[in-house]
């Protein structure tokens, strides 16, 4: 039942994030139950009339304070454990970008996601670049590198099932990566307020098998290139 708290994970690093999540969940869950439990117990146990007179406990001796300081010291150690687990996962996810099979330039603007592929020549900035709106096609099981740019305000590229979120900041190019486990369609949400259409700045990541992706890129890149060319001719 608890695992249903989070959406099913669909990326390679999502598991690392979920692992840290559940580590924190059980640690803070324990302290939460303990603290609320002791509080609730003392409220029932020491309600007025249940004993003659309140105890005179000032908590200014080390012996009394140990009841507070020892748990706090344990919490400190657990904090450091959480930091350690978090830091190593963070480094795997954000420390660098693994060699990528596919690179996509993602341009956010009020209120659309545009995905630019390098086209058949594999180079950006050439005439055969292909831009598609709102549907990001990627191959399953391959590292995808993305470069985020914004044309106007800050947006945030969020794919909940990949545990992937990265703000898109105008004036910067922010690179990142992900690797989807298996084919499927996963929703993209904008998670930084970007104006009146923020709520509808929706997109999809279409994860395809290597074969399907190959077929898609063949189909959609070639005719697009032709039409780009004819546009260029008519200018």
């Amino acid at each position: 039942m608890l695992t249903g708290l989070l959406p099913a994970n669909a990326s390679t690093f999502g598991g690392d994030i979920d692992h840290v999540f559940w580590l924190i969940f059980w640690i803070v869950g324990f302290w939460f139950v303990l603290a609320e439990g002791v509080l609730a117990y003392s409220l029932v146990r020491y309600r007025k009339g249940s004993s003659k007179r309140a105890a005179y406990l000032r908590g200014d001796s080390v012996r009394q304070l140990a009841w507070v300081l020892v748990p706090a010291a344990i919490i400190l150690c657990l904090d450091l454990g959480i930091d350690r687990a978090g830091a190593s996962a963070w480094d795997r996810i954000k420390g660098g970008i693994p060699p990528a099979a596919t690179t996509v330039r993602i341009t956010a603007k009020q209120f659309n996601w545009n995905f630019t592929y390098p086209g058949p020549d594999g180079k950006f900035g050439t005439a055969d670049d292909v831009t598609v709106e709102n549907d990001l096609h990627v191959p399953a099981g391959k590292v995808v590198r993305f470069e985020l740019r914004s044309e106007d305000v800050i947006h945030s590229f969020f794919v909940p099932e990949f545990r992937l979120k990265q703000d898109v900041v105008p004036g910067r190019t922010i690179a990142g990566w992900f690797q989807a486990d298996k084919p499927g369609t996963y929703e993209i949400a904008c998670s930084e307020l970007c104006g009146f259409g923020h709520y509808s700045m929706h997109g999809n990541v279409v994860v395809q098998s290597a074969k399907d992706y190959e077929a898609w890129s063949h189909d959609s890149w070639t005719p697009k290139t032709a039409s780009n060319k004819s546009n260029a001719d008519s200018d």
Binding site: V38, R47, L57, G195
Partner: protein, 592 residues
């Protein structure tokens, strides 16, 4: 025997006439006559008690706007296709304006004036045994400055172009260039209102600090101060030290919008992340500016109704000072996915999660304070305990957001919304209402109705939890904040029923607040007359009449002991006032 600390040299605990005379000169610096005309007494008053009540009136009035916007937001989220009863339909641009106003009003014009302005002003001089604040005129000016700020913000809701709609965090360039929102004067006035509000609390903060350092009654050493005073002053210092960068940021943003500069605009060579740093360098300490006074109130209430001394008084002082200091080096945890250098994430995670230690100490000491007590569940006690129990939820959920790794997923979702409402609501409203029910007799000379108070507590406690527990679940499913309606996203369809639950609970929570409005008004006219010290509390504000006379005390009180001497073994009464001469306890005083 230290010179300059007469308390230590005194062998006869009753001060001589000469001593009292000297002490009075020390403590009555801002001596002024009782003001007689209506305007001088109730409008442009320099009396800290009147100013405190003015702040309270302002904050509770603004809370009506804050609460009403909460209702609009929640209705829209539960039933997006319907007209909101009492308002009508709202579009996505209105929605963004409404969430911006909700956050701005609640943080800057409800929480701060309620916890610092109202309680801080009213109580600090009374609790330290002073006649008034150190700078009464500055105090008056601080109130009238926030009054103007609140007026400017209110006016901004009605100007052409609409109110500010870039969120209470006003991220640039959304807030910077009007072409992105269509908002023109609304955002300018929003910035002006904030700058004025900051100026107001700068004046207030200087007053809190100076008053507490210089105007304590004889014998009121720092270690005998009520914790409320300690925490208010710590909050004031944190505010003074953190607000500067954001005042600069607000003026830079205003210049971007009106003078054509481009501090935060990439098309003019500026950087949006600069705004985020400036905002959060203030914004995170601001959480503690609000939280510490709320805790301060709970810490006054708990020992009185548990009839026990505070457990770990000095430990708590040091913990809150440590939390305040740490709050200056955690701000970038709001920016883990902002695009800042990823190598900054782990250091900021470590500092952020480290804050759990002083707060754990604080919470454990509060629990230890009621442990072994003789607890009466009066309305103020219920609110203090409800605040403590709820804050624990806010505290533990902060760890998920402090860890940069889990924040990748949770950042900007309803999990964040639920988390910070679980920190700020308990301190502002549970803490604030605890304070209201506890000090109302002192402020207005009459007791509030207990039955109505308890109804108010249970409605607030149950409905508050019923609003925000579902929102944790919503956030864990990845629901982003500030979304006008969820139907664009298929993955959010399964959580829609949780939004409906949260909305019904919000309506219950808001309706429940009529109990306190009625109680407040009814008790003013019909409440039982309050004795000087109806709760048998030990601190100085109870050593004078209810309500206190002009200049607070008939004679300047002399303090002989700690603030929380309850159930002292061998004593007939279960409390000893701070003013009670320490006959037979001199060894204890001298050792202090």
């Amino acid at each position: 025997m230290t010179p300059g600390r007469p308390r230590l040299r005194r062998t006869n605990p009753t001060p001589t006439a000469t001593e009292t005379g000297i002490q009075m000169n020390i403590a009555i610096a801002p001596h002024h006559q009782a003001e007689t005309s209506f305007i001088r007494r109730y409008i442009f008053s320099t009396d800290h008690k009147v100013i405190g009540k003015q702040y309270m009136l302002l904050s509770l009035t603004m809370a009506i706007i804050g609460g009403f916007t909460a209702y609009l937001i929640r209705w829209q989220l539960a039933w997006p296709e319907t007209d909101i009863p009492g308002w009508g339909a709202i579009g996505p641009d209105n929605y963004n304006a409404i969430i911006t106003m909700h956050g701005t009003v609640m943080v800057f014009f409800v929480a701060m004036p309620f916890l610092l302005g109202a309680f801080g002003n009213y109580l600090i001089p009374l609790m330290i045994g002073a006649r008034d604040m150190a700078f009464p005129r500055l105090n008056m000016m601080s109130f009238w400055t926030i009054f103007v700020a609140a007026a400017v913000l209110t006016v901004s809701m009605f100007v052409p172009g609409g109110p500010a709609a870039a969120g209470w965090t006003a991220y640039t360039p959304l807030s910077d260039n009007p072409i992105y929102t269509g908002v023109t004067w609304g955002q300018n006035l929003w910035l002006l209102a904030l700058a004025l509000e900051f100026a107001s609390f700068l004046m207030g903060g200087i007053n809190f600090l100076t008053t507490t350092l210089n105007m304590r009654a004889p014998g009121m050493t720092l270690w005998r101060l009520p914790l409320f005073v300690w925490l208010e002053v710590t909050a004031a210092v944190v505010f003074l030290l953190s607000v500067g960068p954001l005042v600069a940021g607000a003026l830079m943003l205003l210049a971007d919008r009106t003078l054509g500069t481009g501090f935060f605009r990439p098309d003019r060579g500026g950087d949006p992340l600069l705004w985020e740093h400036l905002f959060w360098f203030f914004g995170h300490p601001e959480v503690y500016v609000v939280a510490l006074p709320g805790f301060g109130i709970m810490l006054e209430v708990l020992p009185v109704f548990a009839r026990k001394p505070i457990f770990g008084y000095r430990t708590m002082v040091w913990s809150t000072v440590a939390a305040g200091a740490l709050s200056f080096v955690v701000w970038a945890h709001h920016m883990f996915v902002s695009g800042m250098d990823p190598r900054l994430a782990t250091p900021f995670s470590v500092t952020t999660i480290l804050i759990s230690v002083p707060f754990a100490i604080l919470v454990f000491c509060m629990i230890a304070t009621v442990w072994g007590g003789s607890i009466s569940f009066t309305t103020p006690m219920l609110f203090a305990l409800g605040g403590l129990a709820s804050f624990i939820v806010g505290g533990v959920t902060g760890i998920f957001l402090g860890s940069a790794t889990t924040d990748i997923f949770l950042h900007g979702t309803y999990f964040v919304v639920a988390h910070f409402h679980y920190t700020l609501f308990p301190v502002t409203f549970f803490g604030g209402f605890a304070g209201l029910y506890y000090w109302y007799p002192k402020m207005f000379g009459r007791m509030m109705n207990e039955t109505l108070g308890k109804i108010h507590f249970w409605l607030t406690f149950v409905f508050f939890n019923a609003v925000f527990i579902p929102l944790f679940a919503v956030g864990l499913r990845g629901n982003p904040r500030r979304i006008y309606e969820m139907s664009s996203y298929n993955f959010l369809a399964p959580v829609q029923h949780l939004h409906v639950i949260a909305t019904i609970a919000t309506i219950g929570l808001l309706v429940g607040q009529f109990a306190v409005v009625v109680n407040f008004a009814w008790s003013m006219a019909r409440g039982k007359k309050a004795a000087a010290n109806p709760w048998h509390a030990a601190t100085l504000e109870w050593a004078t009449d209810s309500p206190p006379p002009h200049e607070n005390f008939e004679h300047v009180p002399v303090v002989y002991r700690d603030a929380y001497e309850y159930s002292v073994p061998g004593e007939a009464n279960d409390w000893i006032a701070q003013t009670e001469p320490a006959i037979g306890h001199l060894s204890h005083v001298a050792a202090d």
